[in-house]
Symmetry: C2
Subunit: 205 residues, 2 copies
DNA sequence: CCTACCGATCGGTAGG
DNA sequence: CCTACCGATCGGTAGG
């Protein structure tokens, strides 16, 4: 099936075909983090990728579609990173630590922080359909954490209510996006270490 | 000095003089929490207090002035509540616990949650002047927490980097505004208990 | 505090 | 992907 490009034959020869959509998405992610979804205009996004204000609508039907793509992609990236980090790790404490490191790296690292910020702070702007899809992905992610915490609880390495513990643990991690600075200060790794120390009971040698 | 009311003599006899300003502020706070500062319009605020769209500007010069009042008032309330809670408490663990309860109550309670949400999520919309004032109040508040954590560290009740610990502790608390529900689930008190258990080393009887 | 309004800006579209 | 534009909405104001 021929696409519009091959029909019109008048595109200004993009260096890499199909990358304009990704460019727009990354610019949108960064601007959403800096100014919020409502505070970002289509003209901001267009200017960030060197387009005129009407052109982003060639790639996305609405501004809301950009937000949906950013938050769904962002959530997927976090999930994938955390699942990958725990593969093949059998010790519960070690698994916990690796998952936490991966979660923080996904939230704070240069690659993912823009999308992650939208996941954490802009979901309220989603329409009901997109909100439902997002909610399902969040549930799946939190379920994985719930299972790992239950495992640690059964092993006597965590005490109290695991539901509350999960909310507080991930809350401490998520809030780091508010104070973390790439230059100077703690690294995602160090943050994960201190949070692990804070939460897990001292190891029994 | 005569105010405008006594000059025009045409106000519709407010039930309580000067309360319209407070009404507007509370409506603004609630709407800022629900839809964000950028997502809230003057018309939303006016409608919430039964005014026409031009009338809020009789009480506030700009929309931004409303945000400034909400966040500065909100920060002050949190500070006052936490300082009041620790008065006359000499035991460091007990002081910590009371401060944490007061912090969470201020963030989650019906009275303060709207203003607190603006403190936590809308400060990026402040102009440089208001941001500087806000920053000063936040510094003062965090200094109080830093002192208490240092005290616990010196007493051997906390380990590791107290700067990171404070950021993670208050982060866990602040993030509770994202998942706390007034009906059903944990109370602010229970959240404070679990967070204290998580963070402080087990008491030595 | 209301009426009536303004200039600016917004998301989005038609046509090429 | 650009040009040119539209209708809606926004924060804010003049005058009473």
């Amino acid at each position: 099936m021929a696409d519009l490009n091959s029909i019109t034959g008048e595109m200004p020869a993009p260096a890499d075909e199909g990358n304009r959509r990704a460019d727009i998405l990354h610019a949108a992610g960064r601007l959403f983090r800096e100014k919020g979804y409502k505070g970002t205009t289509i003209r901001d996004i267009a200017a960030a990728v060197g387009m005129r204000s009407g052109s982003p609508f060639y790639h996305f039907k609405t501004k809301h579609d950009m937000l949906r793509a950013v938050v769904l992609d962002g959530m997927q990236s976090i999930y994938d990173a955390v699942i990958a980090a725990e593969q093949g790790v059998s010790d519960p404490r070690e698994r916990f630590k690796r998952m936490l490191e991966a979660h923080l790296q996904a939230l704070l690292g240069t690659d993912g922080r823009d999308f992650a910020a939208a996941v954490l702070h802009e979901c309220h702007a989603l329409d009901p359909d997109a909100a439902a899809e997002m909610s399902a992905r969040k549930d799946r992610y939190e379920k994985r954490w719930a299972d790992v915490l239950d495992e640690l609880h059964a092993a006597g390495e965590l005490h109290g209510d695991m539901h509350l513990t999960r909310l507080l643990l991930l809350g401490a991690a998520n809030w780091s996006t508010q104070w973390y600075r790439p230059q100077g200060g703690a690294t995602p790794q160090q943050i994960a270490d201190q949070l692990t120390t804070l939460v897990l009971c001292p190891p029994v040698p």
